[in-house]
């Protein structure tokens, strides 16, 4: 049988899915053990126990100076920035994407500009943001917005344009005006697509968040990683990276679930 027609059975499928994760973990443990055998003070590949101890300090014990639970605090602060940035991006891109996608005048006015603007590398204008907005929250949130909104806007405009023309004509022959077409035909069909767009933007959003926190912040997951780097504290960095990855993974999972639950028609419509 051809490879393209061969499918693993459910149990084997689960084993296949798990094996790369297990492999990475096993390789790490072996490598860490070897290094510690050679040099008990090795900092590069901390043992699981060392990382566990570091996490216990970060997550479950109050910081001596501030009295905060550092990891919890970092997580909350970072998620706040991330959600605020993505929320603004989402609102802005939804409003602009739908209206520009629908209205030829706006298309002429904005599409070339948006296309040009989206080529500006957001990190390159980070200094400008710090100068204009100071090094507070505004600059960090703005960076996330600037980093994700142009893509989401362009994506949404394309999705609106992708709606079959006959559908829009049909709506008009059923007596719908601009507003009605927007509210009943375009917007409901764009919501699940917006979730797709958001899922793809999560990666860049974390990138910009951590960049901003690395450069100027007093707290946050990115700040912490770059702070403890000075002490070569891999036992904190690695679990933090894993934690960020886990958060991003569950955010993605949650969005996928939301799309499925809130727009039950979408999978079928997309398949057609």
């Amino acid at each position: 049988m051809r490879l393209i027609n061969r499918h693993p059975n459910p149990r084997l499928a689960r084993v296949l899915t798990a094996s790369p994760f297990v492999a990475v973990a096993v390789v790490y443990v072996i490598a860490s053990t070897i290094r510690h055998a050679a040099n008990p003070d090795d900092k590069l590949l901390p043992t699981i126990a060392q990382m566990g101890a570091a996490m216990w300090r970060m997550a479950a014990q109050q910081d001596m100076e501030s009295g905060d639970y550092l990891m919890l605090n970092d997580t909350i602060v970072s998620l706040q920035r991330l959600l605020l940035g993505l929320g603004i991006s989402l609102a802005v891109s939804f409003a602009i994407g739908v209206s520009v996608g629908m209205i030829p005048y706006l298309k002429r006015l904005f599409v070339p500009f948006i296309n040009a603007f989206s080529m500006v590398p957001p990190l390159a204008i980070l200094p400008i943001l710090f100068i204009v907005a100071g090094i507070g929250e505004t600059a960090k949130v703005s960076l996330i917005v600037l980093g994700t909104a142009p893509y989401m806007i362009r994506d949404l405009i394309l999705r609106v344009e992708e709606l079959p023309r006959p559908q829009i004509i049909k709506a008009q022959t059923l007596g719908a005006g601009d507003w009605q077409i927007a509210l009943r035909v375009v917007v409901p069909q764009m919501l699940p697509r917006l979730i797709d767009s958001l899922r793809l933007s999560l990666g860049p959003a974390w990138l910009y968040l951590i960049s901003a926190e690395a450069i100027a912040a007093e707290n946050g997951l990115g700040y912490r990683i770059f702070l403890v780097r000075r002490y070569f504290a891999m036992d904190i960095i690695l679990p933090y990276v894993a934690w960020i990855t886990l958060l991003a993974f569950f955010a993605d999972l949650g969005l996928r679930w939301l799309q499925h639950a809130a727009f039950p028609w979408f999978a079928g419509a997309r398949a057609q």
Partner: protein
């Protein structure tokens, strides 16, 4: 007076004529079938009737007035595909036109008004035999059911004219026969005017009271080609068709019962 009057209409694409000197007076309550070879401009003709395209020359009148510049609710349409909204249930698809009419701002009804609209929509669904499918999304429907839904949706606001572009050509013969019977019944009950493009000659004669044949002239030696003209305008007398069908138990009527063929060469060369 004719509902639709097409007067010396030309349509050019990239400077080349696709349709030339099209003339047709379409009377109230008639069922006009448009046939012709692929690429001769049937869809283009229909798109002009729904104001999706504009003629380059000539005029189209609706009830004696110039056609509105954009699609309006007096001309319903059913396409071969993409005719229903994938994000609305079957019931939602048929309620939608009523919501457009009754809620100018939001296009959405609530409470009693919504219930009333849903009742009307259910009656319409019953008419096209989709009662059981009301809560389903279109993706879960067969092609024939989707087209019946599209008909129900287009008919619920009782358009003056119904424009159909090969609405049944993707259906299997059995389904098509069912939907033909449905189409005929709906047309008789509402007395609306229908223009239907089809590839299927037998469908044209079975349903139409009149068949318009579009054809392009052969390509000239220098590569130039004129636009399609109406080569035949065939009156299929509705009463005769009815008699023919009531005499037979099963309507297999491939041939037109009694047709009078009026050659429109006079028009074409005018």
């Amino acid at each position: 007076m004719s509902v639709l009057a097409v007067r010396d209409v030309w349509k050019l694409y990239h400077g080349r004529p696709v349709l030339e000197r099209i003339n047709a007076e379409i009377g109230e309550g008639s069922f006009v079938a448009v046939v012709g070879p692929s690429g001769c401009g049937k869809t283009t003709f229909l798109r002009m009737l729904m104001s999706e395209e504009r003629p380059d020359r000539g005029a189209i009148l609706l009830d004696g007035l110039p056609l509105p510049l954009e699609p309006t609710h007096d001309r319903g349409v059913v396409f071969q595909r993409y005719s229903v909204f994938p994000h609305l249930t079957v019931l939602g698809n048929v309620v939608l036109p009523l919501e457009f009419a009754r809620s100018r701002r939001l296009g959405k009804l609530f409470g009693i008004a919504k219930q009333r609209a849903e009742e009307e929509a259910r009656t319409m669904l019953e008419d096209v035999g989709l009662t059981g499918a009301a809560p389903l999304y279109p993706a879960a429907l067969s092609g024939g059911m989707q087209q019946r839904l599209a008909l129900a949706q287009a008919l619920i606001r009782r358009p003056r004219v119904l424009l159909l572009d090969e609405p049944f050509s993707a259906l299997d013969p059995g389904t098509r026969a069912d939907i033909h019977a449905l189409m005929k019944r709906l047309w008789r009950e509402t007395q609306m005017t229908i223009v239907m493009v089809t590839h299927d000659i037998s469908e044209a004669f079975r349903l139409g009271t009149r068949v318009l044949v579009f054809e392009r002239p052969p390509v000239q030696p220098d590569g130039a080609q004129g636009g399609a003209v109406v080569t035949h305008d065939i009156k299929v007398h509705e009463r005769n068709i009815d008699k023919l069908q009531s005499r037979r138990a099963t309507p297999t009527g491939d041939g037109p019962g009694a047709v009078s063929v009026t050659s429109r060469d006079d028009l074409a060369t005018a």
